[in-house]
């Protein structure tokens, strides 16, 4: 490895070193605050180091890594999301009985897995990243060992994720058999020369689709989502909904565009079908939910359905739209789950819709951030979600995907219905639920999230400018 290779891997090295340091520290002295502070600091340094390596990209470390602006962008999004989740976890994890410092170690390893996905250029790194991410998530989901639902969710995720990983691995193996290579670009060129897709390759890609579909919770591989979202601690649900999905999306986009999958009619039909199904199933099932975490789970299914429309646009502009969409979706989702986790105590999770009754009159600022998040998920103007949806619709229409765009719009209306239901509850007469006191960091984080939602909704030009100028694949 050269010096430049090392330089380009700085963020990964930082993220990988941090958990080791924490492990050593807690073996000597357990101090929750120190560990928390160190985690926040390491994530900040990791984020800063991204700027350090911008001059030396694009850079390929054969055969596994490809570090270009696209991957750095995703890396940045992943680290910032992990940072926000960390900030919001403070109070929630602090209340837990037993060990809690380990939470941050595992948060780091899962972030490492996620960020590897952003730079993967090879099946090996792809699988390595996904497994690092998944295994860390098993632990995070079941972190509240005293709670039955948490254990249940952890085991559910464990079993289903292992099955899906098996599918993914077998799919990779089949493709390797067919082409004798595991590098994305090599597979792409083999596909071009090979013209016709042999059944072996088709089943290979099909199986990979199952694995990826599971991670993104696309219909029909979505069954785990509501249970896991409900059972996992609220910050972890936020983490699954954002970092884990975003990282898989990063590699899916890279893989799919490398292969030029949008030109293949099988892929086209499959992806369209999955997108439409995800939108409708996610939104329709969300309508009847009484549990906000489940509801957000279903809403994330629908959101991923909107997002994979981008895969079919087949243009750099589409990728840019997807990045903007992901950023807005990340902020919004973390905001919504952040509110839930700040209002939860370890024994009593604020997850039923009634728990939020009259929140606006008791904790107006929190309720405003929650309202903004929900409006943004629903795609109402002055929020980031509106511009993001607009961007995706715009690129979708440009690529002539009218059916998909129309179903997206129909679904926006369906989606509105259940978001409105929560918002109505927030503003209804106050109930008598007791709310925990809020910490300073929690408040600040939520304020940052709320303001970002507004800024991206009212003046998104600068971010779009940055994305359009730098991000290409």
């Amino acid at each position: 490895m050269t010096e430049k290779d090392f330089l380009c891997l700085t963020p990964f090295l930082i993220i990988a070193t941090a958990p080791i340091v924490i492990m050593i520290v807690i073996s000597i002295l357990r101090n929750y605050k120190v560990v928390y502070g160190f985690s926040v600091l390491s994530l900040l340094v990791a984020f800063a180091s991204i700027f350090l390596i911008i001059p030396s990209v694009p850079h390929t470390i054969e055969p596994l890594f490809i570090i270009d602006i696209y991957s750095l962008f995703f890396l940045g999004i992943i680290i910032i999301s992990a940072l926000l989740v960390t900030l919001l976890s403070y109070d929630y994890i602090k209340q837990l009985d037993g060990v809690k410092e380990e939470y941050y170690i595992i948060l780091f390893t899962s972030t490492l897995g996620a960020s590897l996905l952003a730079v993967a250029n090879h099946f090996v790194l792809f699988f390595l990243g996904i497994e690092t991410l998944s295994i860390s998530l098993y632990i995070l989901i079941a972190f509240q060992r005293s709670k039955d639902s948490s254990i249940e969710a952890g085991i559910k995720y464990l079993i289903l994720a292992s099955v899906s990983s098996a599918f993914l691995l077998f799919g990779m193996a089949l493709i390797y058999t067919a082409f004798g290579t595991m590098q994305f670009s090599a597979i792409a060129s083999a596909l071009v020369t090979g013209n016709q897709l042999s059944p072996l390759v088709i089943s290979g890609f099909g199986m990979m689709m199952v694995g990826i579909g599971f991670k993104l919770a696309l219909v029909p591989f979505h069954m785990w989502t509501p249970d896991v979202y409900q059972g996992a601690p609220a910050p972890v649900s936020a983490y699954i909904a954002t970092v884990s999905k975003g990282a898989v999306m990063a590699i899916l986009i890279r893989f799919f565009f490398n292969l030029r999958g949008f030109e293949n009619q099988y892929f086209f039909i499959t992806i369209s079908g999955i997108a439409i199904l995800s939108m409708f199933v996610g939104n329709l099932l969300a309508i009847r939910q009484q549990n906000i975490k489940r509801l957000l789970g279903y809403s994330s299914i629908a959101n991923m359905g909107y997002l994979i429309i981008i895969l079919l646009t087949g243009s750099n502009k589409g990728i840019q739209a997807s990045i903007f969409y992901l950023i807005s979706y990340f902020i919004t989702t973390i905001g919504a789950f952040g509110v839930i986790s700040l209002l939860s105590t370890c024994k009593d999770e604020a997850e039923k819709i009634e728990d939020f009754k009259g929140l606006f009159w008791k904790r107006p600022w929190i309720a405003i951030v929650f309202t903004l998040s929900l409006l943004s998920l629903a795609g109402i103007p002055i929020t980031a979600g509106f511009i993001a949806k607009f961007y995706v619709i715009l690129e979708g229409m440009k690529a002539g995907l009218m059916v998909l765009v129309f179903s997206m719009i129909i679904n926006s209306v369906i989606g509105l219905y259940y978001y409105l239901r929560i918002i109505t509850t927030l503003f209804s007469a106050a109930g008598d639920t007791k709310l925990p006191e809020l910490s300073f960091t929690g408040n600040i984080t939520l304020a940052i999230i709320g303001i970002s939602i507004l800024i991206l909704g009212i003046y998104p030009g600068w971010l779009i400018d940055i994305i359009v100028r730098f991000v290409t694949l």
Binding site: I380, P381, V413, T424
Partner: protein
Amino acid sequence: MILVYLIAILLTGAFLAWITGKWNPVWSRIISLAALSIDLIIITLFVLQSIPSEKDWLIDIKFNWIPQFGISLHLALDGLSLVMLILTFFLGLISVIISWKEIDSRVGFFHFNLLLILAGITGVFLSLDLFLFYFFWELMLVPMYFLIGIWGHENRTAASNKFFLYTQASGLLMFISILAFYFIHGHNTGVYTFDYLQLLGTSMPASTSMLIMLGFLAAFLVKLPVVPLHNWLPDAHTEAPTAGSLILAALLLKTGAYGLFRFIIPLFPSASMTFAPIGMLLGVIGILYGAKLAFAQTDLKRLVAYTSVSHMGFVILGVFSFNELAYQGVVMQMIAHGISTGALFILAGQLHERIHTRDINKMGGLWEKAPVMGAIGLIFSMASLGLPGLGNFIAELLILVGVFKTNILMSCLASLGLIAATIYSLRIVQKVFLGKKNKDWELSDLNFREKIVAASMVVVIVWLGLFPKPVFDTAKPALLKTLNKQKEITFQNPGSNSDNAEKVLCEPSCNPLCTFVVKPNLFNHKGSQSKAQSNTKGNQDNLCP
């Protein structure tokens, strides 16, 4: 910059009202009053200073917003928007005053929402960028939803949801149309922009144009509302607090009518011509059906809500007649209906505040107890039935006359609506204020604050009825601009739908556009009601020599 200030003042006022409302509710009321008064003063000063009618736009400003997508902050003012703005700020003031006692919980947040809605409405009346227009269009919704959902009556949640879903769904259809328009224009010229002035005159196949127009129409006709799409309106009006009903009826519905003028007719000249017979038919159905349902209601607010449906039927009837007289009438109808229906809603609110019911079967004989209230009720019921001397009469008459020139049958059917209006309006007076007492209600008459509100609205409606010329003069250039565009384009390519074009415009002896040349002084200063009536007829003769 004045246009940006108008919106900015409302937005700043909104936030200030919310924050100060935490300490003292009176502050938020005063701040709202101040913000609206400043806006009203600015716009009045502007009117007094100058109305150069030659220019297309009195003020026209443009900043970049999201240049990557060709979205700009393009605001412009012409006569039509000017008139609507004055109405907006005036009724905004009224709505703050009438909420003084009615709203006693969460006052700060109430005024925040109120001012935000008004800012959205102001933006809608000023935007010349389709994206910006949609932005403001949606901006009105959320605070209105809160207004109904938080301070409304018993069934507020269902009503506010219904309102939101209806308007949002139709708004999204408009949004698709906007995008389609954007792409077609971009494809034709290579310039991707949402700018209204650049999108004007985009050529496209007739069928595409029709489809895109239907998307726009969906949003406007739901807002207006037109009969098959009116379902949300009675619920929303009934359940909203008084200020909410006032703003819904007087301003929000008008954004639909404004959209027809500003977007449907100029952007889709030939498609709108094709659609005209259906549009007029919908209008007539709305007039009669709304009136029939209004007659059947026992809930006072619901009754008034259905009269709105009926009155708005006149608007769409007039818009699709492509005739200057009718257009003048439509503008007048927008204002007069805003004032008269608004006043009736205020009255219903005041009654509800006093006797806690809206059921007119439980009322009766209230005149004795509250003579001033009775008199006000009588005046506005008369306005609603179209009594000469009050604004609504001028409006409906002009629309009927204008429509008569293009479609006699529709005009005749629509005039039946006037009879129906008489029946339901008299029923209000009879059931509420006259008739036998059903119960011995304890109620006080209007207090000073309420009298001021009522008096100012009476002054306006009488003024509109007797001396409507300023309104006509102000709105006229804008309306002619719309009509001329229509004429130009339908004459340029008569191929696509020549039948309709001929039917409407090829009456050289009595072309509605000739008023532009003749420039008759419609409604000179006249004192008496009967003279105003005969004057209309006189002018009519002038127009068709």
